[in-house]
Structures are given as C-alpha cells and as structure tokens.
Symmetry: C2
Subunit: 347 residues, 2 copies
C-alpha cells in the first residue's frame, strides 16, 4: 500500500510499504477513508520532534474495517470507525477511569513498527478498546466525515482543555491559540454552556471560525497586551477559565495572566521549551489551577459523537484544505507556512 | 500594649506599642487570648521575606472583642472570636465566592500600619467579614482553644491542600511536608474520606501525630527514594492526590513524581526559589493537575468549626510548645531549630 513516511526534517515521502495485516487476535485492519494533518505532526516535520528515518506519520483517521482478529468483538469488516490518536486496551485501570492516554498497553500511531494515519490502511492494536463505530451512512457525507474526523484529536482535545479550564454555564472563557485545537476549545466551551468566550487571534479566517463556533469577543493583541485586553473585557478580573492551546512558555504566561483569581488554565498545548512559563508565586497568590495534558479523546467520543451526528456542533470548518494521499507533503507545506489551518486527506 | 515586632533577621522584640483603637466604623478591636507562630513567620525571621524595621508579626489569633465600630453587626464586645490569616470584607465578588484571600479590600496582619497576632490586642479591619464568633465556653478550655486556633491558618490550609489534591473517599493521598500544615493536611484528607494516607516524614514526634491524624503509612525517604516508596505502596501507580506543604522546588518535584496519572497536586507551600520544580512535560503526558495556593481559610471556618467543636477532629496536637507573649522570640528560636513543631502563645 501507499503511506506517508518521514525521513528527515522537511523530507516527507508517500511511498510503497507492506500491507498491514492482523498480527494479534486483538488487532483490526482499517482502510483509511479520511485522515488529516495535525499541528503536532509539524514538530516532526520541522525536526523539533525526533523520528527514525522512514517512520510513518499521522494519528487521526476514519476508515472502514477490513479485517479483525478473532478476539475482536466490537467491530467487524465493513464497519465505519473512527480512531483516537492513542490506541488503548480499554480494560486497564486507567482506561476504565477514562484516562486512555495512560493505558498500560497504549501507544501512538506512527511509532516505530506501527502504521500511521496518513496511509491507505492501518493495523489497529486493541481494536475493541480503540475504535469507535460510526453510522455507515456517514461514509457518503463529506461534511459529516470531516466533522467526525475531529473526534480523532482536535475536538476531544479542545473538550479536554475546556473541561480542565472549568468552562461551565455563566463562566467567561479565554482561548489562547487560534489553531484547530483552540477553535475546537471555543466550540467545546460553548457546548459546555460558557456565557462569554474570548478568542485570541488576528487572522480573520480563523477568528471568523471562532465567532461561528461561539466566541463572543475576539482579541487581536498578544502577550501582555492580550492580558490587558481580556482584563478590560472582564471588569479587570480576568477569565474564569483559560484554554491554553499553544504550548509555549509565552502562551502559558499569557494564559496565567488573563486568568481570574480562583480560575484555571486548561492546557493541551504540548509543552515546548525548557521552562514552564508558569509564575508559581502568581498562581499561588491568586489560586490559579493548572489542569490538562494529553487529551484522553477515546473516552470523550461517546459523549461528543451524538452532538456531531445531529449537528448540534459542527467542527468541520477547521478543515480549510483537502489533499489526496499523494499530496500529503504539500499539505504539510501549507500548514507549516500557515497557509492552511488544517488539512484533510482524502483516500 | 505589648506586641512582637521584627527589626531585622533574627531580631524580634516584644515592646510597647500604641493601643489599637477602632479607626473605621467597620473595625473591631480584639484582645488576644491565644496566638501562635507559623512556619511562614520564620521566613521573615530568617530574612527570607523582607520586613520594614519595627513591623508587627503574627497572623493567627483567637481573642475577645473589646470594641467594635458602629457598622459592625456580627460581633460585639465580649464575643470570643477567631481571625483567619487574611482579613476580608465579606461582600466583594471574591468573598462571595469563597476566595477571601483575593478580597478586593483584604490584607495581612502585620502589614505596615496594621497589628499582628503576636501582641496583646489587634485592630481588625472589616470585622464582620473577617471574624468568626466562637462559643464563649471555649475560652476556658485550653485544649479546645488550641484546636480552634488552627482555624486561623493551618487547619484551613491543610483542608485547602486536601481539596486541591482531590482527597475523597477511596483515594490514596500522599502528604509531602511534616510541618503543622502537612499534618493538618493528613487530618483534612482523613476527614474527607481518603482511604489511604501516606505521610512523608522521619521525625517520630511528627509521624506519630500523622498516624494519630489518620496516616495509614509513613515514608521516611525523601526525593526520588520517597517517590519510589510511594509507588511501591501503590502497585506502581502513585497517589491519586498529593498534598505539597513545603514550597521548595525539590518538594514539588517529589509531589509530581508520586502523583498517579490523572491525579492532582494540592499545593499550599508558598513557593520558594526561582523555579517551579514542575516538569510540565511529565505533568502533560500524565495529566497531573496542580491546584491550590494561599488558602481562603475564612471561607472554610463555617465548615470546619462544628467538627472541631464536637471533637470529630482535634488538630490541637500540632502545638507542642507554649510560650508567653514575652517569650515569643524564644518560640521562634525553637521553631527555627526545629525543636518545636508549632508554638502557641498564651496571653
């Protein structure tokens, strides 16, 4: 089959690789219908995250089950399924508690020896724990497929951030980060009943989506100026809940600065840099909590799926460019240059 | 009147100062019956926290109202009262939400121009918001007075840490710090229903109190060895809830290391040092939350007071030395040398 591989920074290739097969009785093989490129894929692309030459890449996909091991009972050949960005056994202590990212047998697509989502097919370990079945009618609805694909990562990650930040009815939520995750954070905060949602961003294409997703205010400033602007909008107090969806020390500082005393930062931007950006004295004196981390999106799919299926929420606008599998390297280039917000890969 | 003043590191004096008077209609004057020395007083004592020469000190006290301004309605002359370590107006947004430490008009005892608890009497701003009335019979019960005095700070602070850490029925709680706050954290975790409480400490006098307060296990190791010991006790997983009651980078690292994936650190040790001790990458990958800060103990008194009054909990053993007001400097010396856990000051 054809799959995307990474050989060095900026050296992505779509090439022939062995067809995936059921190797363990808990495996399934899924033929990919839609995949996409994640902001975090760019770290590998840019060489900020190390990869072995030839490693697969891509951790978000929807597809159709082609084969399943004899112990797989939850899905079967022909089922339309979505995969979260971490596979998990579904039965360990952590999976039972909903922290699937800490699964004792979990792992990431594209790890050495494993397939990635940006390919024709994927061997899925622990298919019962990992995959979630979708209504087969969705396969013929392009918009709905795109919306459902966000359950792989960005929608669940935005939801995790919103929960961590404490988005709730009556709350003011500020969102640092105008990427697909930040925008999904806006959508998730709105879904959780936030009264006011302040999105940070200066690119109209993105802030327009933020407004469509529920942002009541947009702040174009950055850093200290953004903190001042959010305080200005909140009688000097700051936001009850702050979603941090960037992961730099600067964005964390901004998030803490705009949090209201007693509030929380829900952080899902994977930490970059050697420091934390956290001023612990400020957090201490103002009782600012920090919650979040890598999002256990598998556990959120059952809650979010019905709202996506009935269009209560529609995260599909985060995809603003579509490429074929052979064009994946072009999709990376567009995202790397911020010419595209998020690229969807069609089969 | 006589009051404790600080003139330079290690230069505490008990000297004559002006008698406090009601200055504002919302003030009360309280004659101090019991005060105490806090671990955080030692920062000023050691010169780690700056003080203007002659500043008052002490932020925990119980006393009898001597006079009250004309707008004070909640307490009157003759009432036995306890004061939390921060005064607060009781009516601002933050006070109404229970975050009295962020009160728009709040402040700390011993600030320049204000009395401290380690003196004969104290002018109390915003007496209605700040003071909590106690049953007058308590005044003649030494043990009960000591127990009630912990409502000023250490009991409420331990409770704040336990809440921040997520102590709850069924949870395993680890407590970093064997001072009065850490021990009160044990007591609070027990009160909140924690199933297992692991106290870190190597001084028998302290670990004996920890066991009396509800610790089920004691770990004498420190740092990485303590992390290993707590993991050993928890099938390798770590504690659901970790109370951090020290405030150094090392203790924070220890706290994060022994937290179970998906768990939380409840931190109440005021941050020392320039760094945070937080490894954000580890916290991110394991979804460890950080909650806490300066404890809004005023808001906790109504909840904790009944349990202290009926001896459901008895925090009085944290006091292991008693001094008179004139002997306060001696009390500091004993705590500075760790010869005393916590010193109570009698009138």
């Amino acid at each position: 089959m054809r799959a995307t591989t990474i050989h060095a920074p900026y050296d992505l290739r779509v090439e022939d690789v062995p067809d995936p097969l059921v190797q363990l009785p808990t495996d399934a093989v899924v033929r990919v219908l839609r995949a996409c490129v994640c902001g975090s894929d760019l770290w590998a692309y840019r060489g900020e995250a190390e990869r072995a030459p030839g490693q697969r890449i891509g951790h978000e996909f929807i597809g159709v089950v082609e084969d399943a091991g004899r112990e797989v009972s939850g899905v079967r050949a022909g089922d339309l399924v979505v995969a979260p960005f971490v596979w998990s056994d579904g039965v360990c202590d952590y999976c039972e508690e909903g922290l699937t990212t800490s699964c004792e047998h979990g792992g990431m697509w594209g790890a050495v020896g494993y397939d990635g989502g940006q390919g024709e097919a994927v061997r899925v370990p622990f298919a019962d724990g990992t995959l979630v079945k979708l209504p087969s009618e969705a396969a013929s609805d392009d918009r709905l497929l795109a919306a459902l694909l966000t359950l792989s990562d960005v929608l669940g990650t935005g939801h995790h951030a919103a929960l961590g930040a404490g988005a709730r009815p009556g709350a003011t939520v500020a969102v640092v980060g105008d990427g697909a995750v930040g925008l999904c954070g806006v959508l998730a905060a709105k879904r959780l009943g936030a009264e006011r949602i302040i999105a940070l961003g200066r690119h109209t294409a993105r802030t327009d989506i933020a407004r469509d997703f529920g942002a009541t205010d947009v702040v174009a400033e950055r850093g200290e100026a953004a903190v001042a602007a959010v305080r200005e909008l909140t009688r000097g107090q700051g936001a009850h809940a702050v979603i941090e969806a960037v992961g730099t020390e600067e964005s964390m500082r901004t998030a803490v600065g705009m949090a209201r005393d007693g509030g929380a930062i829900g952080y899902v931007g994977a930490p970059h840099g050697s420091g934390t950006g956290l001023d612990l004295r400020e957090m201490f004196s103002r009782n600012i909590a920090l919650r979040g981390g890598i999002a256990p999106v598998r556990a959120y799919i059952p809650e979010l799926l019905p709202d996506v299926l009935d269009s209560t929420i529609d995260p599909s606008p985060v995809f603003d460019r579509s490429v074929s599998l052979e064009e994946v390297p072009e999709g990376y280039r567009a995202m790397d240059r911020r010419e595209a917000l998020k690229v969807i890969v069609t089969a």
